[in-house]
């Protein structure tokens, strides 16, 4: 199975029905996408598929063939974190951080589509991502900050 992963060609031999999350975590060593529910209900495993945020925990490998997958590890360029990741750090926008790679991925997708989102648009774009620690308001501030940098 061939696809583009974080800008580079990737080829894996896993069964096509294997959810992408386990291929990323266990075969490709990219553990930044986290397991949360296994059924696309929480957003902890979000990756970008051709630029759109999608749950990787119930996404069969065959469905990404020939497509571009970007994970949290691939958001930045040339060893630098993406402005969204930097802004999240600047706002100290986490407690446990477990949900945050999925949130960062969704926020990057939002800013790619809408470089100056309103607060309401940010809330709406992140509504599929659950955060149990209650870091939501800091995340919103961070996305605003990233949009203005």
């Amino acid at each position: 199975m061939k696809f583009t992963l974080n800008g580079k060609a990737a080829e894996v031999k896993s069964d096509g029905d294997t959810p992408l999350l386990y291929v990323l975590r266990n075969e490709l060593g990219l553990v930044g996408s986290r397991f949360g529910c296994g059924s696309g209900q929480c957003g902890a495993c979000f990756v970008l598929l051709d630029g759109k945020p999608i749950a990787s925990c119930d996404l069969p490998l065959w469905s990404v063939e020939g497509k571009k997958v970007t994970t949290i590890e691939g958001l930045g360029k040339e060893g630098e974190l993406h402005p969204v990741q930097k802004a999240l750090i600047a706002e100290q926008a986490a407690q446990c951080g477990y949900c945050m790679s999925g949130i960062a991925v969704a926020a990057v997708a939002l800013l790619n589509a809408n470089s100056r989102p309103t607060e309401e648009e940010i809330r709406s774009a992140l509504d599929k991502n659950l955060c149990r620690c209650g870091s939501h308001n800091r995340v919103i501030k961070a996305v605003m900050r990233a949009a203005h940098e």
Binding site: P19, N26, Q92, Y98, G134
Partner: protein, 659 residues
């Protein structure tokens, strides 16, 4: 033997001193007994160590806790890590500073440490703090935002197998055939399986479950609160100050019952552990809150010598109390007996976590008060019914974890209990902070349980403060008084008054209109920790929305003010989620069955710290009860409806309107 809620860390100071290592690369390794739960404790403890030692913050490294080298500081819970763990660390560092001065050595790195340390060195006065009190950024966040390995879930060991559990509440009656390519492990009703590939373990567990049968178990009573009330086995007076003359002055009597459901911890990352057997020795990696208690329990259940078990802490997703972390660790350890020395990584599924974590217990609180002719409270009765709020491993002479009751030679499991007052468990914050002349507070302990419960952020404090602070509003209305003035008239404690006044002052810009309301809730956490007042603003439409929460908090000297604010914000939002939406019931399997507050629903939260130089206390739990009561009081302000059963869903509000 019951272990105390938290062993005195000062008694550990000498041992702890020996656990501050000055490394050859110029850094300082600190083996702390408290673990990182996402609350930022590692950063705050590093601040304390840096200040007391007088070294740069960047040089301090807090090691992940391990039974192999960490001091036993009990469980990381109860908002005590700064209060106790911080105190012990500060003392240890003060010792080292005194030794350095006395020795004349050029630096800590040249210091020859004697085995015996006196333990009487003076600590720096607060006025000399340079790093404590500043917003040092969290040292762990850059790696987390970069997606680097950060959690036990991310641990990879050579030759590691992937495991899943196949569990049911009943006794196993028939085990289906093992799906091809996986190894099924059975020990009594304890069933799990091992596979080379994680996806295979998941699929095989689904198939094995579908083909296996278990005995039926009794249903959970539909009215859990009535069940609790009829099953109390102990009635303990928590506080009594009888004043018959005052009670006789009462001219108006109010009674009300408040109900709190089971609430799930609902960690975003279901529990996970890795275990490896080497002969009769066992190594476990776990996101437990108490590595020593877990070790004790695992050794007991697996009949191993305690010194042959090592438990290493690695972070998990936020737990907010006792979730499935310890259970999954024992599960993984039991499975690792069958893996020929290969490490076993067990990931509970989302369904496992919702089905098996020990929930925050349901509670019933009955209040009964009398007002005198001037509208003052002269008599107050508080009765609460609940299971114990602590069911942590390694504290009793019997095990508590799930698998202990499932294996072929099962253990009788100890019941959940309550830590003693003043902190308390079910009775945490049951004693009101107000000055009432005639007072009786009684805890009705229910030992039997139909649903397993254990510690959830603030324990009984959530239910008790929700009840007390709702009832204070009810009494204020009955007395024809303003709820804020009414509280202040009954409260002498200046720090308590100050947080109320600050929260009210900061929320004065609220403009009331149809369907909008504002309410207040206040408490001193555990009657000995942080003071917290919350003002909630709500809009009651098709459903109740919380639009803004204003919190005023006094935690003494905040070690890291932004860290405190982060905890308060998170606590307010989580409490709002519990209050508006959450009630665990049997059959909950995923987030669709158990909604929590989402980005589009989260209120704005403003936090105001009343800073002072008083001893630092924890911040993580103090908001829970006040937020719940503030929201219920705001709902009443908006619609004139008193809702006494959580959560405040549209159905509950409709019931209250029609009652």
């Amino acid at each position: 033997m019951n272990k105390p809620e938290h062993p005195l860390p000062l008694s550990d100071a000498r041992r702890l001193t020996q656990r501050v290592h000055f490394e050859r690369d110029g850094t300082v390794s600190v083996a702390a007994g408290k673990v990182e739960l996402g609350q930022g404790i590692s950063t705050a403890l590093a601040q304390i160590a840096a200040d007391e030692l007088g070294v740069d913050l960047s040089k301090i490294r807090i090691l992940p806790a391990s039974t192999a080298y960490s001091p036993d500081e009990g469980v990381t819970s109860g908002s005590l890590s700064i209060q106790d763990g911080g105190k012990g660390l500060r003392k240890a560092c003060a010792e080292l500073r005194a030794l350095l001065k006395k020795s004349g050595a050029a630096s800590y790195w040249d210091l020859e440490l004697a085995k015996d340390i006196p333990g009487d060195a003076p600590e720096r006065p607060a006025a000399e703090y340079r790093i404590v009190g500043t917003n040092a950024p969290r040292s762990d966040l850059p790696a987390k935002f970069a997606g680097r390995p950060s959690y036990v879930h991310d641990l990879v060991l050579p030759g590691m197998l992937h495991a899943r559990m196949v569990r049911s509440a009943g006794k196993l009656q028939r085990l289906g055939d093992a799906p091809p390519g996986v190894q099924v492990v059975r020990d009594g009703s304890f069933v799990g399986l091992l596979a080379e590939r994680e996806a295979d373990a998941i699929e095989a567990a689904k198939k094995l479950r579908a083909k296996s049968r278990w005995s039926a178990v009794p249903e959970v009573p539909a009215d859990i609160h009535a069940w609790l009330q009829s099953h109390a086995v102990e009635n303990n007076v928590c506080k009594e100050s009888a004043d018959a003359a005052a009670k006789a002055r009462g001219v108006k009597r109010l009674q009300a019952e408040y109900r709190k459901p089971f609430i799930a911890h609902g960690s975003i990352g279901p529990s996970c552990a890795v275990a490896r057997m080497h002969g009769d020795k066992l190594e476990v990696w776990s996101h437990t809150q108490g590595i020593f208690g877990l070790r004790r329990e695992i050794a007991m259940v697996m009949r191993l010598r305690e010194e042959h078990v090592v438990v290493h802490h690695l972070e998990g997703a936020g737990c907010y109390g006792h979730n499935g972390a310890d259970d999954v660790a024992l599960d993984a350890a039991l499975l690792s007996r069958f893996s020929n020395g290969r490490p076993v990584r067990l990931q509970w599924t989302r369904e496992d976590e919702f089905a098996w974590e020990p929930y925050g217990p349901a509670m019933l609180v009955a209040l009964d008060a009398r007002l005198d002719s001037g509208g003052s409270i002269v008599s107050w009765r508080h009765d609460l019914w609940s299971n114990g709020h602590t069911h942590r491993p390694g504290r009793a002479d019997k095990p508590v974890l799930l698998a202990a009751g499932e294996i072929e030679q099962p253990f009788e499991r100890a019941p959940a209990t309550d830590p003693a007052l003043p902190a308390g468990g079910a009775h945490r914050n049951a004693i009101p902070a107000y000055d009432f002349p005639d007072l009786l507070v009684t805890r009705h302990y229910v030992r039997d349980s139909v649903v397993r419960g254990s510690s959830l952020r603030s324990l009984g404090g959530f239910g008790n403060v929700f009840a007390i602070e709702s009832f204070m509003d009810e009494l204020a209305h009955a007395a024809g008084k303003d709820p804020v003035a009414f509280r202040l008239a009954h409260l002498k404690d200046p720090r308590g008054r100050a947080v109320i006044e600050e929260a009210v002052r900061r929320s004065r810009d609220f403009r009331k209109s149809e369907g909008k309301g504002q309410g207040l809730g206040v408490a001193k956490y555990k009657n000995l920790g942080a003071y917290c007042a919350v003002v909630a603003e709500v809009e009651a439409g098709h459903e109740l929305r919380v639009t803004r929460l204003v919190a005023a908090v006094d935690v003494g000297l905040p070690v890291n003010p932004d860290g405190v604010i982060n905890q308060i914000e998170g606590g307010c939002i989580q409490a709002a989620s519990w209050t508006l939406k959450e009630a665990w019931k049997p059959g909950v399997a995923g987030w669709e069955d158990y909604p929590i507050l989402r980005f589009s629903e989260v209120p704005k939260v403003e936090v105001h710290l009343l800073k002072n130089q008083l001893p630092s206390v924890g911040a993580g739990e103090c908001t829970m009860g006040p937020t719940a009561a503030a929201i219920a009081n705001a709902l009443h302000d908006a619609l004139g409806v008193r809702c006494r059963s959580l959560p405040l869903t549209p159905e509950r509000i409709a019931e209250a309107i029609n009652a």
